[in-house]
Symmetry: C2
Subunit: 250 residues, 2 copies
């Protein structure tokens, strides 16, 4: 897959950058393929699937990947992956009404962010770049809950196996996110900018997954960014400059 | 429990209104207790727990409850309930880092709203009042995803057992919500007002669950409402007038 992608990029080098698929079930092969993709194929980083049927991101297997990303100055993208065969309720066999995708997928991203944050990845690798899908999913909405509920809960004594720096909520600010809200949602994108900061939000549309093969998602995402109550340089950062910096373009 | 609550209200009748706990495992007893609580105890409605260990809200047992709520002009409150014994990932035995409560609970509310909406409750009972916790959880954030992703997904043919009116997203606007964001979050509350409308957002603080026994949640929620970019009459509706109308006070 990565070799085929590299061949496409070689034909359109001004248009595409490569993001590698990794064999996450084998930690040594995972890191070796990241090295090969970045050093030999010229890719800008890698993607991993997250969710209850994927490997949790605080699994020890991922430690070498985090270190390799920093060593290579490469970027990691997360994408949710829960399938419809995980039922929403125990008396059913399949998820209903596409809840697994509409709500479950942003939940998967949110859960992955929990695992990265509480595993202390940002304490050990402060410069690591991890880009989350769907405007950081539910995390910007839950900012106050993360800031105020956890300090009240921790004395209860349920599993909190972490030694990361406090306040916990500040770890979550170190992720990057894209702007894919599946439509017009300027206030949602403002929440993301408020939470992650203007340097950590990158244009992303989720095309082509709409009823017009992506045209709605692209045009509505651009319209959202235009309507955001932010200074012009933040808009320019989201639309181009953050990606140029991270992907070392131009 | 309901009789003891009624005794407290009898001592402070200008201060409290009663919301009944219902025996949801027995559908006939559930409806009988709602009738008794409203007609004999003077309660304004009832509360039910939602989540993967509770009964899903499109279960046929709840149909009589929805009808009784409308017949009695009573209100239903939902509260999430997922326990920490539901693990986040299959290789663990307990939820970690309080994910079950910080993210899982708003997920439970969101899932409950899916079930009420897609069961057609608002088509059959357009005047029903169902108040959701935590600013309608993830639903206002997912507005564009509900509006644009579902029409693209439905032709895929996964379980979508519903005959409700379209667009689906408009059913979700018929819920009410409270303002409990666990802290300062004016933009989150603006999202809720934009989505549900100014007549369907009611003051709620989630006190006493903070490190100062509720004082933070109450003061920060009031500060959020003060900071919202809304007209003064919307602020007055949230702080008092919506509750007065729904609970028939004054």
């Amino acid at each position: 897959m990565n070799d085929e992608l590299a061949a496409v990029i070689a034909r359109y080098p001004a248009r595409f950058r490569g993001v590698a698929i990794l064999p996450v079930s084998d930690p040594e092969a995972m890191v070796a393929e990241l090295h090969r993709a970045v050093r030999e194929l010229g890719f800008v980083g890698a993607y991993v699937a997250v969710g209850p049927t994927a490997k949790r991101l605080d699994h020890p297997d991922y430690e070498h990947l985090y270190k390799a990303l920093v060593d290579l100055d490469a970027t990691l993208w997360l994408h949710p992956s829960r399938p419809p065969i995980i039922p929403d309720y125990p008396d059913e066999k399949l998820s209903q009404y596409y809840e697994w995708l509409v709500v479950g997928w942003p939940y998967d991203t949110t859960s992955a962010m929990f695992r990265v944050a509480f595993a202390g990845v940002f304490d050990r690798y402060p410069t690591i770049r991890i880009v989350t899908h769907h405007h950081g999913a539910f995390i910007p909405l839950l900012e106050a809950r993360l800031a105020n509920a956890l300090p009240a809960l921790e004395p209860v004594g349920l599993p909190m196996p972490t030694k990361i720096s406090k306040p916990y909520v500040d770890h979550f600010r170190k992720f990057y996110c894209d702007t894919a809200a599946s439509g017009y949602a300027p206030k949602v994108l403002e929440l993301a900018v408020d939470f992650f900061g203007p340097d950590r939000v990158l244009f992303g549309s989720d095309a082509p997954f709409d009823v017009q093969d992506g045209r709605i998602f692209i045009s509505e995402t651009l319209r959202s960014i235009e309507a955001m109550a932010v200074p012009p340089n933040t808009r320019a950062a989201i639309l181009a400059n953050n990606a140029k910096r991270i992907l070392k373009i131009g």
